[in-house]
């Protein structure tokens, strides 16, 4: 009888539902974690809670009516999306943009990129248990919101760009505020580095955690700072320069290992590079029109299509527009960077600790409504 006895197979896999309301899931992300003790066996992100049908709306609204939607796809880089959509339509319809408007758009987009990275910086460190840096970051971010509020009248959903330019010219006060903000942010770097970058607890929570290898990044279509952290200097602003980005001297920061610490370092360095772009743009800002007065009121691009890629705060974003010659797009597809950036987590989270999952999730910097669209 003894040989018939079999060891009972003990199933000790425990399923934990992380989110969708958990503060560190940044938006409405839900991750189903299968746990073996403290270790993650399988992670299954569940998205779609914030699906609003932006792509359908893109087909149902005139091109101009779709502008306010853009800032709501990724609410943290609203200006950059707005900018990208206008560029896509301008390319499709062949609308010219005055030089001054180009520079104003670049300045505002880079300010927006810094504000997005600052918010990420604050919330990420707060996820890891540090509350003070959060207040520092939000204090600085508030300055940017004031500057953008001045020109666009809005703090988050800007809708500032129009086909052929921007809604409103910038005044000397805007330029003053921007220049002094850059100076102020530079003076803050030592504080940030002393508080966070050199913090032993922070380094232990991030070094060698959530490593994304270049091959994994390619397989999952990871772009943006997360890709650059694994050592690939790929930035749409450099690879397909749009607007006037080819006139500025800036570096593409890269990491070496692709762990959470590298992603942190790349983003912090990127803020400094954005400051450099803003400074150069302020110096070169030409006089002239802020909007092309001849731009058609009702935009009707000729038949055809355009795939326009640009670099948002989270990575390569693209609008794919198909026009049938009418005022409505036949198809409006948005390629969002967070899609690949989040999908790669299914692979990265395997075999890590639950506590590290929070660190990894934060370091990857996803905006869920962008995925849900």
């Amino acid at each position: 009888m003894a040989e018939q006895f079999q060891e009972p197979v003990v199933e000790q896999i425990y399923t934990l539902n992380l989110g969708p309301q958990h503060p560190s899931t940044h938006g409405v992300l839900r991750v189903l974690l299968d746990l073996d003790g403290e270790f993650i066996v399988k992670a299954d992100p569940v998205v779609g809670y914030g699906h609003r049908g932006h792509e359908k709306m893109g087909e149902n609204r005139l091109y101009k009516q779709f502008i306010p939607n853009n800032s709501r796809v990724d609410y943290l880089s609203g200006m950059i999306y707005n900018h990208g959509f206008c560029l896509a339509v301008e390319k499709l319809a062949g609308i010219q943009v005055p030089e001054r408007a180009k520079y104003i758009r670049v300045i505002c987009s880079e300010l927006n990129r810094i504000s997005s990275h600052l918010l990420w910086f604050g919330t990420y460190v707060m996820d890891l248990g540090g509350f003070t840096p959060f207040l520092y970051a939000f204090d600085d971010r508030e300055q940017i919101l004031d500057i953008l509020d001045r020109v666009s009248g809005s703090r988050l959903t800007y809708s500032y760009c129009r086909f052929g330019g921007v809604t409103k010219d910038v005044d000397w006060q805007f330029l003053d505020m921007t220049a002094s903000f850059v100076k102020r942010l530079r003076s803050r770097w030592p504080d940030y580095h002393n508080l966070v970058t050199k913090n032993v607890i922070f380094i232990h929570r991030t070094r060698d955690v959530g490593v994304v290898t270049p091959e994994l990044a390619r397989q999952y279509g990871v772009t943006g700072p997360n890709l650059r952290a694994c050592g690939i200097p790929f930035d749409t602003r450099k690879s397909e320069p749009y607007e006037v980005y080819d006139r500025f001297d800036f570096k593409v920061p890269v990491g070496s290992k692709g762990d959470a610490l590298d992603r942190y370092n790349v983003r912090v360095e990127e803020m400094e590079q954005s400051c450099r772009i803003i400074e150069q743009a302020l110096d070169q800002l030409p006089k002239g029109d802020f909007i092309n007065g001849d731009a058609p009121f009702k935009v009707k691009p000729p038949k055809g299509e355009v795939y326009f890629a640009f670099e948002s705060a989270r990575g390569q974003t693209a609008y794919y527009l198909v026009s049938d010659g009418s005022g409505y797009a036949y198809r409006c597809h948005i390629r969002v960077p967070s899609f690949g950036n989040l999908h790669v987590l299914t692979e990265v989270l395997k075999g890590t600790l639950v506590a590290d999952a929070i660190s990894i999730l934060g370091s990857i910097d996803v905006v869920i409504p962008e995925i849900d669209r």
Partner: protein, 157 residues
Amino acid sequence: MAKKDEIVQKLRTMLPEDAVSADEAYKAGVVFSVRVPLAKLRDAASAFNEAGFYLESITGLDFKDTAELVYHFNCYEPKSRIAVRVLCGHDQTPKTLVDIFASAEWQEREVRDFFGIRFADNPDMRPLLLPEDADYHPLQKTFGIVHAYHTREEIYG
């Protein structure tokens, strides 16, 4: 040799003469546009994978006479995006690319959500963005408010 030229050479041997069209001016945001028959899609994708490209986006287009899948591949070199266009009849099922590009899994689920195109052999075809019990496909031109429903000829003709 740049990766984009390498892959185009390879695709030219694999496909009929007029399948590859170049867009030197980058007018539509792609450097080459390749028409691939449904049966050769996986071969083309494998070639892209071997050449070191990544799958940037999968999306669909709905026409009266047919549906069309548009795959955008890109590599980490300047201006190298290549579009692969696959005609896929309303009743046809394309093969999945999941085992070639991992990122295809979610993107195919999204296309399934929006256009109702099922991908054969994708291990996980649950709705991604729509509710779990959704039985509608919002980007089909027969759903909701639609301003125009064309044949493919009328736009690309």
